[in-house]
């Protein structure tokens, strides 16, 4: 069958199935299980209304349970078992093994670097872009351009940036713009950017910053527009210069939103995998936790240590996630 046709059928069956489920299950509840007639019509209506939310939530609860809750429990179990011993319970042995590996600590260190730099830079650039484009006639065009990388998948972005960092032998034309610029400025040799330890981490981070700046800009731009204009005018009358207005009047008023943006990007960063996987695969000291986990799980087939790494990532993400949700709810009030 033609793949397009296959896709179309999948969509029809999927969407039709959803609509069918809600319609038919609702009909069943109202007409068969608790019909709104007969001696107990009032009682039946009340009971149907009590059941209805659960009926509608059931598919989502089932999917979340199967794909989110169950894997957490299963991963925890796997992290405490050993592959070589045929899945026997080994306690913390996998964790001990992992903590003894330098590659794990390299991943941990790199993850912390990512954690500090990417959210900070994305939020800062996003804020800057939001403020600078706010009053421009062509601000919306600039915003669209800055937002566009959001639409590109991480792997796609990684491929694009791999071309930016591309290196060719000196006798060939450079197709990587960074090396092309370098050579045109008179350098002798092209550099292999992604193999320069430590600094190559930042070249990888640039990709994620490039993507996330658009997200930060859109959210912060909306927040900046929500600031009452009169507080800014009051500050002008009080004698504040543009910098003081920005840092002492505007930023404090959108602090809640900044925290939400920051933590949201932090969570993305903790899960970062695709970019590292596609660009260096953790070589040249660019390993990160998610890629480390993938290496262990799917390359070394060591589900014990791989699951242990997954648990560490979850432990790191959870507190930030809680804080993020708390702040986001506060913002919505």
């Amino acid at each position: 069958m033609h793949p397009a046709l296959q896709g179309l059928i999948t969509i029809i069956v999927g969407v039709g199935g959803c609509v069918g489920y809600y319609y038919l299950s609702n009909q069943f509840l109202d007409k068969v299980l608790f019909p709104a007639r007969g001696a107990n019509a009032g009682r039946n209506i009340n009971r149907a209304n009590m059941i209805r939310p659960w009926l509608f939530l059931a598919p989502a609860l089932f999917a979340l349970g199967l794909y989110l809750a169950y894997p957490v429990v299963e991963t925890l179990r796997l992290s405490l078992t050993d592959r070589d011993a045929g899945g026997a319970f080994v306690g913390g042995a996998n964790y001990a093994q992992m903590f003894a590996e330098p590659k794990f600590w390299e991943a941990m260190r790199n993850n912390m670097l990512w954690l500090i730099i990417v959210p900070a830079m994305s939020t800062a650039f996003g804020l800057l872009a939001a403020q600078l484009t706010d009053r421009l006639a062509w601000g919306n065009i600039a915003k669209s351009l800055i937002f566009m990388p959001m639409a590109i998948s991480f792997v796609g972005a990684a491929v694009i940036w791999k071309l930016v960092y591309d290196t060719r032998p000196i006798e060939q034309d450079q197709i990587g713009i960074l090396n092309a610029i370098l050579l045109s400025l008179g350098a002798e040799e092209p550099r292999t950017w992604l193999t320069i330890p430590f600094w190559n981490n930042f070249f990888l981070m640039a990709v994620l910053i490039w993507i996330q700046t658009g997200f930060a800009m859109v959210i912060l731009s909306a927040a900046l527009r929500g600031i009452p204009e009169e507080t800014v005018e009051a500050a002008i009358v009080d004698g504040a210069n543009p910098f003081q207005i920005f840092f002492r009047i505007k930023i404090p008023q959108i602090a809640g939103t900044i925290v939400v943006v920051w933590t949201t990007i932090t969570i993305v960063v903790l899960k970062v995998f695709d970019i590292v996987f596609a660009m260096t695969n953790g070589q040249w000291e660019t390993q990160v936790l998610a890629n480390y986990m993938y290496d262990k799980l799917f390359r070394a087939n060591d589900w014990g240590v791989g699951s242990a790494a997954a648990m560490i990532i979850m432990l790191l993400v959870t507190p930030i996630l809680v804080w993020n949700v708390y702040n986001a709810r506060k913002e919505m009030k």
């Binding site: 009452p228 009169e230 507080t231 005018e233 009051a234 500050a235 002008i236 009358v237 009080d238 004698g239 504040a240 003081q244 002492r248 009047i249 404090p252 008023q253 602090a255």
Partner: protein
């Protein structure tokens, strides 16, 4: 402690939309000037131009003899109280009031003294460490006023400061502003409102704005007793002044007008010989109308009676070709509904307008 001079002030948006033109005004030290006018008349725009928040398209603005057209707001010696209070939500009351002084790099002792003094004057001392969101509307407005006071400005600007308060609080805060003005007799204040009660009670002089310009400037009672034109006559006073069309039949110290509705109006507004036959509008305020058995300027059926207790409003059924006329009698007269009444007014209270302008002022 400053006088303001406005010379041919003009405001145009986008090069073509003219909202204000030929504004000439001389404001003396210690005056409380109120700008009133219908919505969209540009009164807030004029205030914002004085503040420096809007650019002055053309004309001159002088504060204490200094041309300030191109001087930034903070250096004009003005302070502004906004309609929405515009408190900084992330700062305590103390920090809100201290902000301008901190920016001006005043010493902490100086700042503390100024904030404490202002807080005492406005009964805000116990709220100094609260955030604005923990204050009531009236308290927020007082903080906004306090923020102005600490700067010790030459000119206070108020942009509809009471319109976000409920009716009872509005009266109380209005009186507070009046008291504040008494305490600072040398401060010049400019106050924008659309509420004529605020204008009448607070102002040393009222500036009525209409049709892109100034309709009249004068003390509240001047505007009430001797309006220069029909617009001011109808804008000041509630319910608005009745305007009855007619023709001058006798001129002199007392002018006699035969009204189109059939009545005869006698007015203390003097006219010249040549005015005989002039088409005019006779203006009579509802509260100046009295029932009579003799010569009437108006006769009609009472259509609706609104007894408010202290006064009773009478709405007369519009006669063919005539205007709806309103009368206002002291006390309770609920029994007048449906009756036919003859109304007249004291000649000193009867205004005459030709082409919209009062004949008093030509």
């Amino acid at each position: 402690m400053a006088n303001l001079l406005l010379r041919n002030i003009e405001k145009t948006y986008g090069g073509s939309v003219n909202v204000l033109k030929d504004i000439n005004l001389d404001i003396k030290t210690g005056e409380l000037i109120v700008f009133v006018g219908p919505s969209g008349c540009g009164k807030s725009t004029l205030l914002r131009m004085i503040a420096g928040l809007e650019k002055i398209t053309d004309g001159e603005l002088q504060i204490d003899g200094v041309l300030v057209n191109d001087i930034p707001p903070s250096e004009r010696g003005i302070a502004m109280v906004f309609q929405s209070y515009a408190l900084y939500p992330h700062m305590t009351v103390r920090d809100n009031m201290a902000f301008a002084l901190k920016l001006a790099r005043k010493s902490p002792a100086e700042i503390d003294a100024a904030v404490t003094a202002a807080a005492e004057k406005l009964q805000l001392t116990e709220y100094l460490d609260r955030l604005p969101k923990a204050l009531s509307g009236g308290q927020r407005q007082r903080v906004a006023i306090g923020r102005s006071i600490v700067r010790d400005p030459k000119v206070y600007l108020f942009d509809e400061p009471l319109s976000n308060l409920d009716a009872a609080l509005r009266v109380a805060t209005r009186i507070e502003i009046a008291e504040l003005k008494e305490q600072m007799p040398d401060s010049t204040m400019i106050y924008v409102t659309h509420d004529q009660v605020e204008a009448m009670t607070l102002a040393s002089r009222i500036v009525v704005l209409a049709n892109k310009g100034i309709a009249q400037v004068g003390s509240p009672l001047e505007l009430y007793e001797r309006p220069e034109n029909e617009f001011v006559a109808q804008f000041i006073g509630s319910p608005q002044m009745n305007l009855l069309p007619g023709e001058v039949i006798e001129t002199g110290e007392t002018t006699v007008v035969r009204l189109d509705g059939g009545g005869i109006a006698r007015s203390g507004v003097p006219t010249r010989d040549g005015d005989k036959g002039l088409r005019v509008n006779v203006g009579v305020r509802p509260e100046d109308m009295v029932p009579t058995d003799g010569e009437a300027l108006f006769e009609g059926d009472v259509n609706i009676v609104e007894a408010l207790g202290e006064v009773t409003l009478l709405y007369f059924r519009p006669e063919a070709g005539g205007e709806a006329v309103i009368g206002k009698l002291g006390g309770i007269h609920a029994d007048l509904k449906g009756q036919r009444l003859r109304m007249t007014a004291d000649p000193s209270r009867v205004h005459i307008f030709a082409d919209g302008q009062s004949l008093l002022y030509r």
